[in-house]
Symmetry: C2
Subunit: 91 residues, 2 copies
């Protein structure tokens, strides 16, 4: 399942840890937004680690994106260039 | 159709304009992430205005979220408190 994960984390250290975790598994599309496309078992592990890292002051949104929705995702501006540069499959 | 709109805009004035536009139609869930749930005709107008506002340096992602996907959206941390405070329907 594809997912969009966005976060607002004020604490630099914690934000950096979340960033590194998500970078290992997904595509960094914006400052605090990642796209992940991983197997469910892998996602369970990622979500577990995210939950461990987060504090109550932090904010995290996880949007599941089915195949049909993913085909209608739109990108505007330099995110397109970024995704092309990374030679990623835009989902 | 429900949509998640996220943006990275360095220019303060332009970011503020995009913020104000999206605030009029959606829920502000994170620093640069909005959730919109509007009619297609309304969305066409919003997208037109967004496209007019954006420059090549800006980055915008629009994720369509179907009913099934929206039921699996997850929130962690203080975004829940924020949404409850706003008395919004979490989609």
């Amino acid at each position: 399942m594809k997912r969009v994960v966005s976060y607002d984390i004020i604490d630099d250290k914690r934000r950096s840890r979340v960033f590194k975790l998500l970078k290992d598994y997904g595509k960094w599309v914006q400052y605090s937004v990642f796209e992940l496309d991983c197997k469910e078992q892998e996602w369970v592990a990622i979500e577990f680690q995210l939950t461990k890292l987060l504090k109550q002051d932090d904010s995290l949104c996880i949007y599941e994106i089915c195949k049909s929705c993913s085909q209608r995702t739109l990108y505007k501006g330099n995110v397109l260039l970024q995704l092309e540069t990374e030679k990623c499959n835009i989902f």
